[in-house]
């Protein structure tokens, strides 16, 4: 067919850009991951899987995986629970939904760097708003950004501040698509809100939930802007996720080869996580029917 063949021409400009600026650099990064390459040092030497082997023996690498899992799970979990609760609240509310929805959404659309600054001015020791409030009750506040545990907590809160509104928006839109007759008949049978939410509505929008969780996990895995501004991975390496460690390797220590290997591992790990998520949720789905 003439038409179908003509359509391929429409793909050429975009295809060229993607190949040259996305796929070629990606291939180049994979290529670099097999080299011992210090920026501005000796010319790169081929070391095969040397960088990967070095990473497997690197405590900081395993540490960063742990922190990534903790921060991603903490943030996405918090966002989902809070998002579902608020979305259900909005669904139940009979007035004033629109302005509330719009105002709630504001934090999501703020430039991530700016959002991180806003939060830093809340959490900064002594002068931050939170400390000022706590101290006016004569309580000595914890160092939100300076102690490892609290810093992780603050980073999770920061991610949740920006992405809970996203969850609310998507889940609220989803809840509104659930068939009303089912809910009404359950109400006739005397089912409470909790039962309706967990037994009827959540199963009904399962594909949407899966989709939004996959998107969030994917983005949380590579989240950089807020951690960079809030803690820069510190104190020490307390909030150093895979992305932060890769950045430090590449642009602070200039170990381009090792950093590329770490980037490739991050890609594989996030693909694996998403794959597992889809597998587990679909498997459960099939078992249910």
């Amino acid at each position: 067919m003439q038409t179908q063949r003509g359509l391929w021409l429409f793909l050429v400009p975009s295809g060229l850009v993607i190949s040259l600026v996305l796929l070629y650099p990606l291939g180049y990064a994979i290529y670099l991951s097999f080299f011992n390459y210090y920026l501005g040092g000796q010319p790169p030497t081929f070391i095969g899987f040397g960088n990967y082997v070095a990473l497997f023996g690197d405590e900081r690498f395993w540490g960063s995986i742990g922190k990534t899992v903790l921060i991603v799970a903490g943030a996405v979990g918090l966002e989902f629970v809070l998002g579902l609760a608020v979305a259900f609240g909005l669904y139940k509310l009979t007035f004033g939904v629109k302005p509330l929805n719009l105002l709630m959404f504001l934090p999501h659309i703020v430039t991530p760097v700016v959002a991180a600054l806003f939060l830093r001015w809340i959490f900064t020791g002594r002068w931050g708003l939170l400390d000022a409030i706590i101290m006016s009750f004569n309580i000595f506040p914890p160092d939100w950004l300076g102690t490892p545990g609290w810093a992780r907590f603050t980073v999770i809160l920061a991610d949740a501040w920006q992405f809970t509104p996203f969850m609310i928006l998507v889940l609220y839109a989803g809840l509104n698509t659930v068939d009303n007759s089912q809910i009404e008949s359950a109400q006739m049978d005397g089912a409470g809100n909790w039962t309706i939410l967990t037994k009827i509505m959540v199963p009904a929008i399962k594909p949407l939930i899966l989709f939004v969780l996959a998107i969030r996990i994917m983005d949380a895995f590579r989240f950089f802007d807020q951690i960079y501004v809030l803690t820069a991975g510190g104190p020490g390496t307390a909030t150093e996720t895979l992305t932060m460690y890769t950045y430090a390797l590449a642009f602070r220590l200039l170990e381009i080869g090792k950093a590329s290997a770490l980037g490739v591992m991050t890609l594989l790990l996030s693909a694996l996580t998403i794959g597992l998520l889809i597998l587990v949720l679909y498997r459960r789905d099939k078992g249910a029917f």
């Binding site: 003509g6 990064a29 991530p112």
Partner: protein, 274 residues
């Protein structure tokens, strides 16, 4: 079952409380930006003070943040002007193709959206240095155009899917060639969607930080990099950077108001945060 008035009021108040807590960081930053340092550093925090817009003027004019705004604008507008046309063409083709080829491409685009940006930042930096493109507009613009493609294509494809194929066929019978079908028949129908895609792409480019951090320099620095780097040079630092941060946020708030009806669609395809 009609919900009782009392429970509705309670629910409304609870959601209001959530919203207020949520907006506190923004309100607090705005208040800091119009406070003198004496008021900004008081414990307990002062809620009543004489406002001043001096810091807004200082940071944008005297500290020359307007330059970074121009850099950001040049980059964001160029990205939209390149990314949206080529992405729209590809989206049209993918919405009209039959067979498994287009499915494969669409899935591939989705996978590209998953790339950790840090993995791309490394070769971008090495290649840009090799080509002498660090701190130039083309490097930054092309990087963002490429990153933007999966979003633009998926978004525009969803609009083209709503255009009935009969319209294409009728135009073909009237003697239009494929380009005319695209440009004169399908494109006018999706024009609202085109504007929405443009605005989202603009936002994406405006908000981007990691590539800007790696690829830009003194001549091309964008607003997010400038504000992140802005250090404590003087006593008024807090008020000044708060003023800059609020200024950076303002155009986005305006965008959101223009886009509010289309947020779900745009966000689903990964706008705003790349």
């Amino acid at each position: 079952m009609r919900p009782s008035r009392a429970s509705q009021t309670l629910l409304f108040l609870a959601l209001c409380a959530f919203t207020v807590v949520n907006l506190t960081p923004i309100i607090w930053a705005f208040m800091t930006s119009i406070k003198l340092p004496v008021d900004a550093f008081s414990v307990p925090p002062k809620l009543i003070f004489t406002p001043t817009f001096e810091f807004h003027y200082q940071v944008w004019v005297e500290k020359q943040f307007w330059q970074f705004l121009i850099n950001s604008a040049i980059i964001a507008v160029s990205v939209v002007c390149i990314s949206v046309p080529i992405g729209t063409m590809a989206a049209f083709a993918l919405s009209r193709m039959r067979g498994s080829g287009s499915r494969g491409i669409l899935f591939g685009l989705l996978a590209m959206r998953m790339f950790p940006h840090i993995l791309l930042a490394i070769p971008f930096f090495v290649l840009a240095q090799w080509l002498n493109l660090i701190d130039t507009f083309p490097a930054m613009i092309m990087a963002l155009v490429a990153i933007n493609q999966p979003f633009t294509i998926w978004m525009m494809r969803s609009f083209f899917m709503d255009v009935p194929l009969e319209l294409d066929e009728a135009a073909r019978i009237d003697g239009c060639n494929l380009w005319q079908v695209f440009y004169q028949v399908a494109l006018p129908v999706v024009r609202p969607g085109l504007w929405i895609t443009c605005l989202f792409s603009l936002l994406l480019a405006y908000n981007e930080f990691l590539f800007a951090l790696v690829l830009t320099g003194p001549n091309t620095k964008t607003l997010p990099v400038a504000i992140a780097e802005y250090g404590a040079e003087d006593l008024n630092y807090w008020s000044l950077s708060a003023a800059a941060a609020i200024g950076i946020m303002l155009p986005i708030v305006l965008f959101m108001m223009a886009l509010q009806r289309h947020l779900v669609r745009g966000l689903a395809f990964g706008a705003v945060k790349g």
